[in-house]
Symmetry: D3
Subunit: 150 residues, 6 copies
């Protein structure tokens, strides 16, 4: 674990994105709110927010830091792809890109889990489903002169 | 949560894979064991095994089941890509593909976290790093006649 | 912790219910889907399902058992009350009434958290909000002759 | 999750209370220290303190904040009722009323779990036991001019 | 993680013990129930039981198995030593010696935490306090012919 | 839980150590990297770092504080003993000696778990293995005049 004892507590933000490829039929069922397990994007969003708070457990060398904001957005970007974007903010001694990435992959895993039934072929396999394009889209660090709100 | 009360306890296995694209220089440092945070694949493997046991927390609609085996393998597949493969086994009322997928993405997130320093550009951004190709490669369910080992 | 080593693994179910008293205005906003934090009953349901899996952590003397089913239902029962009902099933050596009760109280706490803003008076206090009537409504244990699904 | 990035770190305190109705006989056994599972109020208190630290997991939209104090008190208020009161303090960007409420309900659930045996009727049902009157009794926020202890 | 998929589900028990050396004065205060933080052995016992259920998180290569019994006993064995003994039982595919050892060390750590104030010298150091003699005292595995209770 | 609301946020460090006695043959296998479960010291180190972040769960009366640094070192100190040393740092209202001790005992428990196979006698017992000499070696608190990094 990197020693961040002497680093400054500053405002930090990270954004990440990722995609899941699904069958056209599944995308249609999501859009029409007909997925048996419930509202896919609301459930996946709740799970992603919780995952941000679990980062110190899931990534052994990450520090536990007080997260001040998480948002996760879902968008059907084509007939076969869903895009997830996550934003995470903190005032801490280290950045939150791993938190944003974790929010994205956990959101995508939950989408998969919620639509499993519609993605399987007759042999119970998943020939179409793929998680891809998971990347950090921006990272910000604001070195403020005054110690606002601390 | 799907009702699995009347499903049979049978042997189940799932395999999943995924990739992370890194800079050539980072791959070289991993190969030479020169990453400052430590042995990348051993740390990522430990984290992935632990993540399998956290699936019921990370995926709200997944059941808590007794995992009997997890393995996670890492392979440098080109000058710029690392492949992760996970195998998960159980004797339970439901399958373990979400567990195998979770092992893969958590292993990939940990690789990223461990090599962060070498992947950032001078502005602290990650223009090259991407997680991709995360899929289930096989799912097995063995309906045995006799109740072995239970 | 009670010794359940020699108890039989049988099908078990428990149901519990509970109520939260809210302001009429808050109930109206929930009904119209206008709560700023999101879909109150979906979020509270996800949290309640996850809480069932956390019972061995939250109740120190409870055993960790494989839950096979959880459902949580919400109902606006008057202009000022929401009712939550939870059903939990397992095949285990001990009952699940604490799991059903935990699902109910965690669902109610989450409803509260999601509508906090609308329940506070101008002094930031909660003069109207109350959780009440939390009870076990039924407990079932089916001693089957044959060892189904094990 | 509400964005608290620009909120001030100030001293905050919340108090909550709640009740459990038990059989007279059970209350008598608690008072005489004859409950088989152990010292009811000490065990329930430990569990409630731990639950405060679990609030960010149990309530998905709650922030993880550094708790500086928790106390939980138990009082037999009549021949059939036990009262629980919780006090929680922090120096953080958001209040702790959900933490105080969680402490109260987890304390009450643990009392129930510890006396289950004495509350069941011959059919294994709980016709008498009820959790009720769970409310926030006070919420304080001290906007201090100087940044004490930070 | 070792593959236990084909191992038998049998009754298993493990016992472990360990010691903590404390100052005579601290032992006297424990005996007289005068420790400010509360009833040392009850709190440490609750924590130890919970730790058994956390073994799959604390020991990465341990399997998650259904624990059927935990007991933890405390004994003042001399003017300067407290002995802790833990018993853990399960019906599972693997043994529980790591669970018994974890119960012992977590009980001992909690004793330390609860009496910290009385063990420190004027410089805030701990010249006397030591955890020692932590070992497995017995391990049992009962290969029963009939599949009792499963 | 002690009230630390009015204590200062200062830099704090604690160091702890502990030992595990193993068979000569096991020590030799560790040294030669021949332990079947993998690289003993790397796995035990990862587990110990994660355990530090779990202290508020494992020790009920400990506060959740932001850890800024953890290091864990392993040393074969004789033909039959391994020494573990842990260093933990924070900027918080309370010290980290329990975190350092927890890192040490969890590291030692993991060493045991990883070499179990080589430590058992033919009856499956552990006549040689012992955890011992677990103590705090130093505790530092730096009352700085200026509020560095906050």
């Amino acid at each position: 674990m990197i020693d961040i004892s002497s680093k400054d507590v500053v405002f930090r933000e990270a954004r990440a994105e990722g995609y899941i490829r699904l069958r056209e039929e599944t995308i249609r069922l999501i859009r029409e709110g007909k997925i048996e397990k419930g509202d896919v994007f609301t459930i996946a969003k709740v799970a992603a927010i919780q995952a941000v708070k679990k980062v110190p457990e899931v990534l052994p060398l990450c520090h536990n830091i007080p997260i001040t904001f998480v948002d996760v957005k879902f968008q059907v970007v084509s007939r076969k792809r869903v895009r997830v974007e996550a934003i995470v903010r903190t005032s801490a001694r280290t950045g939150v890109e791993m938190e944003a990435l974790t929010a994205v992959v956990v959101a995508l895993l939950n989408v998969w889990d919620l639509v499993k039934k519609y993605e399987k072929d007759e042999g119970g396999q998943y020939p179409w489903t793929v998680i891809e394009g998971v990347r950090v889209t921006s990272k910000i660090k604001e070195q403020t002169n005054t110690c606002q709100g601390c």
